[in-house]
Amino acid sequence: MFGVQGRVIAAITVRATMGRKRAFLFAIPGVVLLMVTVALRLGHPEQASWPAAILGVFGLSVVMPLTALIIGTSVLGAEIDDGSAVHLLATPVRRPVVIAAKYMVATALTMAFVAVPELVAGVIATGGATRLALGVFTGALAGSVIYNAVFIMISVVTTRAIAVGLLYALIWEGVLGNLVPGARLLSVGQYSLGIANSIAHDPSLNAALTLSTAVVMGALVTAVALVIAARRLASFSLKGEPA
């Protein structure tokens, strides 16, 4: 269904992304999540709600956006920055195909580096495949899908993708999302929490959105972000020589 062009782009993207020195960064947040979970588990905290706090607040709201930011901005952004994107774009490949291939790779990598550790951490924290463990796993899968669309769009729109993405994750989601209830409606972190909570039913996750709101808004944001990314990529231009 994806076509030879998509497969070529995806294969090159996986090699380029995993071959960069940056690649080891992808694993760090997930590894930290696992280490903290194991430490807490061994420490037997008295507060019974600690698994929801570590899996939700830390896992879905910190590890998830950070990892997706690094991966989502590098699958296409790195190529745009160093100019090698020209080789890809000077072919008749339709621009939406480029975005789709990059997006699939970023989503799959984020699932591997965040959703899987999140599931393992959930199992360790709750002692099995509990509703909470499965809930945060599903939330992390959804987060991988939505965040990467947003971060790929940012990487096509601006050359300062990491800074803009960090501002979004820290200021919008972190600060405004906590203070202004309306900001939660446009917060990817809240979508994944809402989806996670629909399975986990755990008030300690602090999910603010219902499942239907989270799914509808998440789908909408993903679609809009990918369309913008494809349109902006079609207008990719080369800078002239320094005058």
Binding site: I12, A16, G83, S84, A90, A243
Partner: protein, 303 residues
């Protein structure tokens, strides 16, 4: 058939005009886009290649607008100036991947053919990161040729090449032009286009300064008066014999050496060495003292 057609094309960035009302048509054969750095060659080439929209004017490549039209890359191949390629791939894998992006029926055969054109078969299995500058340039040309395009655009293809690699690339482009393809390359060094006959378009400060047969423009450029600074083991004696040559119009002894005005660049360059040898004089330095490209191009604009 005209492959590339520009009609009153301008491009500006804010208040800065990079390209100012250029009209030109480029047909089959090799055409050089010549001009000093910052003249707007890359801007022009990027617009032709579909990677920059003109601010005004019309521009067609193979009869189609190139901006927002990836379809043109079926007939156009582009060799960008920047040397960033997927350097973790082998040369062969890079060219084959490009062939697959073009959805060619037999990507392996197309890659083999393109790699043999640029004579890179021996190195095709090495990673691009191990390639020299000239090899990278050649593998980029192979990738741009893999779908057998009628039009090939090259941005500063000779940059950073050693003389041997340069000759090889010139022969390659010349051969491609002979086959009836339209080859357009940019360069800021006159001597680079020496072996490439055909037409040149000279761009100075965003305008088309000269256009036409390479030899005629080359003559214009080389027959202008030149000033050289020559340092030798015996300035006075060499000066005396130089003034007897028709190519030399003036000689002056200065504290820094011998200042020679010549009417013919080529003739002077050949004769000075012969004269020095015949008189047993050692040449320490022969410096063209007004050879900045800007002065050459400025001269051209004035004529």
């Amino acid at each position: 058939m005209t492959a590339i057609e520009l009609d009153q094309v301008s491009r500006w960035y804010g208040n800065v005009v990079a390209i100012n009302g250029i009209t030109m048509s480029i047909g089959p054969g090799v055409t050089g886009l010549l001009g000093p750095n910052g003249a707007g060659k890359s801007t022009l080439l990027h617009m032709i290649a579909g990677f920059l929209p003109p601010s005004r004017g019309s521009l067609t490549v193979a009869g189609m607008a190139s901006w927002h039209n990836p379809g043109i890359y079926r007939t156009v191949g582009l060799v960008p100036e920047r040397d960033s390629v997927y350097s973790f791939l082998s040369g062969e894998a890079f060219v084959r991947a490009t062939a697959r992006l073009h959805r060619l029926a037999d990507p392996e055969a197309a890659a083999r053919r393109a790699i043999s054109i640029v004579e890179m078969a021996d190195a095709q299995d090495r990673r691009i990161s191990t390639y020299s500058k000239g090899m990278r340039q050649r593998i980029k040309v192979a990738a741009a040729l893999v779908h057998d395009p009628q039009i090939l655009l090259l941005d500063e293809p000779f940059n950073g090449m050693d003389p041997r690699q340069r000759l090889h690339m010139m022969d390659l482009l010349h051969g491609l032009g002979e086959q009836g393809r339209t080859i357009l390359f940019s360069s800021h060094i006159l001597e680079e286009v020496e072996r490439l006959s055909g037409t040149i378009q000279v761009i100075v400060a965003g305008r088309l300064a000269a256009s036409g047969d390479f030899r005629a423009i080359r003559r214009l450029m080389t027959s202008r008066p030149h000033v050289f600074l020559v340092r030798t083991s015996d300035d006075r004696q060499l000066g005396a014999s130089l003034i007897g040559r028709p190519a030399v119009t003036g000689v002056e002894l200065t504290g820094r050496g011998l200042q020679v005005r010549a009417s013919d660049y080529g003739a002077f360059s050949r004769e000075v060495a012969v004269l020095a040898r015949d008189h047993g004089i050692r040449l320490r330095e022969v410096l063209p003292s007004d050879e900045s490209l800007e002065s050459v191009f400025a001269y051209l604009v004035e004529t």
